[in-house]
Structure formats: C-alpha cells, structure tokens
Symmetry: C2
Subunit: 356 residues, 2 copies
Amino acid sequence: MSDNSAQNKQVQLVSYPRGLPQESDFRIVRAPVQRPRDGEFLVRGIFLSLDPWQRLRMRDPAAFRGQYGTPVLLNSVVPGAVVGEVVETRNPAFRVGEIVEAKLGWQCYAVTDGAGDRKDDAAGIVKVDPSRGSLSTALGVLGRTGMTAYFSLLDVGRIRQGETVLVSTAAGATGSVAGQIARIEGCRAVGLVGTAEKMRFVVDELGFDAAVDYRDEDGLDRALSEACPQGVDVYLDLVGGDLADRILRHMNDRGRWVVIGHIADYDKPIDAHVGLRPQGYILGRRLRMEGFVVHDYAARFPEAVSRMSAWMSEGRLRYREHVTKGLENAPRAFIDMLSGGNIGKALVRVGPDPVP
Amino acid sequence: MSDNSAQNKQVQLVSYPRGLPQESDFRIVRAPVQRPRDGEFLVRGIFLSLDPWQRLRMRDPAAFRGQYGTPVLLNSVVPGAVVGEVVETRNPAFRVGEIVEAKLGWQCYAVTDGAGDRKDDAAGIVKVDPSRGSLSTALGVLGRTGMTAYFSLLDVGRIRQGETVLVSTAAGATGSVAGQIARIEGCRAVGLVGTAEKMRFVVDELGFDAAVDYRDEDGLDRALSEACPQGVDVYLDLVGGDLADRILRHMNDRGRWVVIGHIADYDKPIDAHVGLRPQGYILGRRLRMEGFVVHDYAARFPEAVSRMSAWMSEGRLRYREHVTKGLENAPRAFIDMLSGGNIGKALVRVGPDPVP
C-alpha cells in the first residue's frame, strides 16, 4: 500500500428510513484502513454505484424478515458496488494495480477475499479491463445496470423486431440502455419519464421513438395509446406500484412483463403490496410476467459486454453518467437519485483514477 | 334426419347474474329443429359440458366491454361444448353418423358449418373416434379439460421430476386430471379442495400425495406447509382471488404459476380485481406467471389424446364424471358446479348415445 497513513471513510446507516431516506439516516465514519490477511487484498475505491436496490436493503429486518434483499444492520456500512484498484494483496489471484468491481459498500477502502458479497449475489469480484474506456462504465453501461438491460430484454423479454418495448425509469441507468438496445434490435422503444428534460434526453439524445410522462396521471392512458399505437409487447418494470396497474391495459396478447424492481413498493412489506391483481390480464391476454435478477446471468456477462462494447464503438449505444464528488456526499446523491434527480447512471467519485 | 318431427330445446340466458347465477337467470325454449343449408350439417347433442368459463360469458357487456370472453347476449343460447351425432348433412366433410365435439351451446340440436365458435375459439369442430371409450370423455379427460391439464402442466408449467405441483379445484375436471399427470411425471401432487369427500377422492382414488382444505382460512398456511414441505414449484390456478394471495408465499424460487382461470373474480370487472400485487414475490423468487388458454394448443390435441389414452388403458389415469340428466336441468347443474357440488367432470346428458 502506497500510503500507510490513509484513513478509511465509510457511510453507515443509523436508522431505517420510512419512505424517502433523509440525510440523518446516515453518518460518515472515519477509521484506520484495514490490512489484508492471508488470502485477502485491499481495494481503494474509485467509483461507487448508487442503485435502487440499496433502498431495499435499508429496511427494518423486524418488518421485512425473510424477504428479498437481506437488510443491512444499523451502524454498519451501506452495501453498494464499487470499482476500485487493488493497492495491497495477500491473494495471488489479485495483483496490485488491477482494477476490480465488487459489492464492497459505501467506503473508500475495503478488504475482501475475492468472493464479493456472496450471501446475496452469486457474482463475486469481477476484474475490469481498464483499456475498454472509463472505469465508471464497469458500474453502468458495461456493469450490472447495462447487463440488466441486456439480459432482461433479450433473455426474459425475448424482444423481436417490430415489437413495442415500454421501459420504465427510461432516463435512468438501466432504462436508458434498455431503450437503445430495443432500437438496435429493431423494436419501437418508448420510455416512461418524469420530466420534460428527461423526455428530451431519451428521445433526442438516445433515439427512443417516444416518451411518456408518467406523472401526468390523467393523461397517462391517452399518452400511452399515442406512444404505443400497436400496444405494448414488452414492459420492463423497475417501478411496480400504481403505474403497473395502469400499464396492464396497454399490454398486447402474449406480452412479456419483466419485473426488475418495484421502487414504488420498497417501503411496504411484501404482503402489503395492495393494488390490482394482474391475473385477469395475464389470463385474458396470455401475458408472461417474470422476475429478473441480474446476477443470475453473471456467467454470461462477457458475452453482453462484448456486444455492447461493439455497439458503443459504432456509436449506436450511448450513456450518460451523473457523478457526485466525494463519498461524504453519497447519502445526498442517493436521495436525489431516488427522487428522480439524475439522468443516466448515478455514481459517486470516491477516489482518483490510478496514475498510469 | 331420422325424426322430422323432433323439437329443439335450448337454454337461454334471460338476465346477467351477479355472483352465483340463479335458475331464474335462464329459461328453457322449445323451437322447431333448424335444417342445414348448403355447407352446413345438423348435430344432435348427446352430452353438454359444464365449464366455469361459461360463467365468464354471462357478464353484462356494458360492464365488461372489451374483456376476455365475449359476453352472451340476453335471450340467446348459453354457449357450451357439446358432443353429438351428425344427423343430417349438406357438408361433404361431415357424414351422417359421425360423432363431433364443438361449442354448439346449451341445446339439443344445432346447425353448424363446421367452423365451430371461431370468434372465441380457434378450434372448430373436432371429430371424435367413438372406439376410444365413452363419448363423454371427448368433453372431459380427453377433451378440453384434459387438454388443459396436460398442456398447462407440461408446456407452461414445465414440470420436472421431483417437483411439487399444487392444483386448485383438484376434484374438478381439470384439477383431477392435472394431479394425476403430475404424479405420472414423477412430481409430488397436492390438491386444493373444499370438502372432506373431495379430499378422500383425490388422495385415495386418484393417488394425489396430499390435499388441503382451502376453506379453512386460519389453518391454510400450516396445511400448505405440511402438504408441501419442499414448497410449491408449480401452481395451477383456476381460481385466483384471495386464495392466490395466500399461495404466493409458498412458492419456491423459479416457481411457475399458470393462470387458467379466476373464478373468484369472474363477477368483477378486470380493473376491480383488487388484492395482493404479486410482483414483489415474482421478483424476489424469480417466479414466472403466465396465462393459459387451451385452444391455443388445438393443433397438438392429438398428441395429448394419444398419450393420455395410453395412461388410461394402463390404469394410471382415472376420471370421474358427474352427469345430470336432461337439458332442462343444465342451469341447476351449472349452479351446482360453480358452488363446488360436483366431483370430476360436470356433464349434462342431452340425448341418448347413437344406436350402433
């Protein structure tokens, strides 16, 4: 390790939020950097990924016991994926200077044995090829969010040329990539967004065929009918909630509904997600509704990274990042992302890129 | 036609029921038998099939416009599948004496052009081989209800040896066949039933591994846990409603949920099916929930009939029928079926078998 005097900084959760988290639900803790033991190595964080699933983990275990997403304990580091540099190693598989991506949490330094956060995630540490572009892409377009877009559309949604693909959180990290993949595959891509700026972003910059403001509740049905004149064949649902109930009626026969998240209901125990039971639509229109978790596809990430890198170098796949500087600003940036304040992938710059 | 003086008898719907139909929602009408024109032929009904989907059609079009299952108009014949004998023909494809199955409605005689009820059902008239057993099986175990059990389990549910298959309405026409197919395929078959007699029927007579009384609301979770100690891999859902909400929590990771019907909600417009949104479970457990309509599989019925006939002659697949005599008793028998009064396939004997 080059700097023995370095201090670690962590963001810990100190109270379980209700609804939108507050900055007071977090605290910043400084501590000496841990040293690796045999088989371990030390990673210096460069970028931290902010993702909606982290909100899922900030739930009181007493109320959410046994539900998807192991709750984080109070006064412990918030979980999150990091891309960083190996700065000290006692594990022969990881050399000093290598770049890795792993769920090491909201902190500047982390010691790991290379297995990652295996309890909740089959994918351990992934080595990142720094020659393929900005290191941040290992968390975004070429990371789990991009992988989510790719495999949810192609493997679960099984999109086919000419179909209409509706994408929720279309200006977000996964949605923005998904709509472009739908276009590349010859589909009509329609995005659900919450602001006029995001509408311009997905249509003018990313080439979506249309965008719909999901916040305009009264106009939603008409806007969806206009944006999807042939109906919806595939819906990528990261949101759930009342919006899902509204979209059901726009689904075509044999439509596919990929459940990737349900931000709208993260704050409610799973048995309190009361709303429209979709089974009537599922029967009448022979829909297929299926859950998607990206780490189930970890073994196939290289295939997707290779295709998506090619699309990027051909200029067919673009991405935007929303980078906040400094780990201590992660709570504010996270709250901002949950409120829809970002366009593209929300990241925190935790430390500088390695000196080449 | 052998008997020119024969009178037709029809059951017509005279009012749209709310909840369970009443006998007063129907009337019996007598009329001269219609004669076939060019391209048509006349069928004399032998058995009429009583099925839950008929309730779906008895809904006020004003309240259910555009929803699955075209509503029957008041003062017209109730739709239903019939097995009958061709008694007069002006269609060269259908000879006098042939046995056919088709959706010809609740009546003793019907004229058809051989296309069946194509508006709602891709399958037209199916010729029945009288040598394969009782003609009634063309409506039950070897008819659409048996086909539903076969294709929903094997094609949509994709059951695998060693899995647990939970079947709703297990003593009914489809459920009773489904549980046996699950057993034949090496699965644990568990049935949901409403009476002790039905419990004995599915376990002792049909060989289900266990049965659970769905009416015992307080004991349901424990009974399901005991009957499905490894959880539920595939649920055949003909019922929907609150019961569905209860079963979600017993589903295993990567479970399949085949939506075949939703009797519990037939009386409610599709946007009034309020209850638990399953998306939280679908995501957390990577469930697949998919709608099933049997006539999508019409082209493959012969494959299923052949395998199921073999199982029947080997004694591995049994069926029971609940036969009511006389078309005029169809309304009462239908109400009885919807209230769970039948075991096995509910049929009405409309006319005698052909004289050989």
